[in-house]
Amino acid sequence: MEKKKCRPVPVIICAVFIALFLILPLVFVITEAFSDGLAGWWANITERYTVKALKLSLLSMVAAVVINTVFGLFAAWALTRYYYRGQRILNTLIDIPLSVSPVIAGLIFILTFGRSSPLYPLLQQLHISVIYAVPGIIIATVFVTLPYVSREIIPVLNAIGTAEEEAAALMGAGGWKIFRKITLPHIKWSLLYGIVLCTARSLGEFGAVSVISGHLRGRTNTLPLHIEILYNEFQYSPAFAVSSLLVILAIILLVIRSVVEHRGGKNEQV
């Protein structure tokens, strides 16, 4: 098939736009990050509080991905394989984290677990701290990334239908076996894609976590919060060095994402 003739104007507009709004700022971030040289960048990255913030960000990311993968699989299953009253409502509810502003998500948890909540005395007696502590940050991250995995799987599950699974069940396969042998191979790539999206979103999460964190340096500061604090303290080159770390992580995720998209696309064609 012959390719269509290239139209230069839209392409140029698109390229200029991308250069201005995406490439240029990124270049500035990277230049600023390395303004003290490679050694300076490394010193900024390995600073004690930065490392702790990175660890916390990774921890909440892993937790969000694990929890949301499990939840996403169950939710997608429940929404495509059974028919019952209230299914639509459930389907809509899953999307709440996408439509609610993250700041409000944070406030919801402050109201639920904070000092004015009826749950607070109970939590105090059990010596459990939720908000202004690590569990709160994980909960907030899980909340904002909740729909990502299930939203990717549901369309695929709907598309493949139940015929193969029913056939396997008739031949005597158990639920776990059906999932492993029939369902998983179908949804493998969309599941991976959802996980990548969930990872990216949880690493960058700012709003909800900012409300709930209390900004305890070295304990409840995630990377994005740490960047904001550094910036407000006139520490521009450390702030941009840490930003560049997030940018690098994001680029890695983008590469993984396009690999997944590419291979997933090829898989479906076969």
Partner: protein
């Protein structure tokens, strides 16, 4: 099998997460005790050094080292977090009113102002002018701000610093036109706010507007923030000390509910008490706050303008009255801001 290995890895991840969740509850292990100090934005560098000093002292006294976890942010926001359950052992905030708002939740007991010397303010600051190098507009005192100049100051509705700034201008006008002549005072302060080019929500925002974005001829700022700007932008700006300003007293307090729960009252009180020792007071001066100890303040007479007349909040009848009269909805500031539009 490959798949099974995947599940094992997955479940390991869950285990690790669970384990680290359980581990984060402990507050002390053997020889290290930890405490939380919730403070506001510009104190970061000072407390970093002070925490090391205090940790050495506490080690000598008790044989245990102290790890102080810091939290910085806007003073009002920080107070709100503590009121919502952020487990701070001590708060070191910008305004008495912010500590009072925590007190009103029943977390800090009334009478905290008397607990430490100098109204529980181990360091103070004031409001000064910051002009571009050369001071082309010849700004020397509050009177010049009503002329043809561009002024940068934050919004008194949202910023603590901005309230001190408003009151400082008010105090100068009272001195100029007489305390009874309120029409003239309102008129003068109104002229200043008509000259405001950008009314940011916070003090740091105004600093950025003035220094980074190059707006305006004069920035009204905290004295300690002004010295920080001089260090950050050498040779670009000058400090102008007005004849009258306000004595801003940042407040420190022990958070009673939290220290009783953690049995850390001794530690928390010692932490704040030690801010008044000579060594800490000198450190305060080095970080451009005014030490509350008058003798040590004299040692910094070449840094701070000690001739300035500083008006305290008592002059305005305390924070509750001042808030009501000047900054509440429909208060004096709203009237000024209205006829501006």
């Amino acid at each position: 099998m490959k798949k099974i290995r995947k599940y094992i890895i997955l479940s390991l991840c869950v285990l690790i997460t669970a384990a680290s969740l359980c581990g984060c509850g402990s507050r002390s292990d053997g020889n290290t005790v930890s405490m939380i100090n919730v403070s506001y934005d510009p104190t970061r560098e000072f407390y970093e050094e002070y925490n090391a000093l205090f940790s050495d002292y506490w080690q000598q006294q008790t044989g245990k080292s102290v790890e102080v976890l810091m939290s910085h942010g806007g003073s009002g926001t920080q107070a709100l977090s503590v009121a919502n359950g952020l487990p701070a052992d001590v708060v070191t905030l910008a305004l008495e009113a912010d500590v009072n708002s925590i007190m009103n939740e029943g977390i800090i007991e009334p009478g905290w102002v008397e607990q430490f010397e100098g109204d529980s303010s181990p360091y103070t600051s004031t409001i000064v002018f910051m002009v571009r190098a050369g001071n082309e507009k010849n700004i020397s005192d509050w009177g010049d701000l009503a002329g043809e100049v561009g002024v940068i100051t934050p919004n008194p509705k949202t910023s603590g610093a901005a309230r001190w700034i408003f009151l400082a201008a008010w105090a100068w006008a009272e001195n100029q036109y007489g305390a009874d002549n309120e029409d003239a005072i309102v008129d003068f302060v109104g002229k200043i706010y008509r000259n405001v080019l950008v009314l940011d929500t916070g003090a740091r925002g105004s600093t950025t507007t003035f220094c980074e974005n190059g707006q305006g001829d004069v920035l009204l700022a905290w004295e300690n923030e002004a010295f920080l700007i001089l260090e950050q932008y050498p040779g670009e700006f000058e400090i102008v000390n007005p004849s009258i300003s306000t004595l801003c007293q940042p407040s420190v307090a022990v958070v009673d509910e939290v220290v009783d729960r953690n049995r850390s009252r001794d530690l928390a009180e010692a932490y704040l008490e030690y801010l008044y020792c000579d060594e800490a007071q000198r450190m305060i001066g080095r970080y451009n706050y005014r030490p509350s100890n008058p003798e040590i303040l004299q040692e910094f007479s070449n840094v701070f303008d000690l001739e300035m007349e500083l008006v305290t909040i008592d002059h305005f009848g305390g924070w509750v009255a001042a808030q009501e009269k000047y900054f509440s909805d429909g208060g004096v500031f709203d009237r000024i801001y209205d006829f501006q539009r």
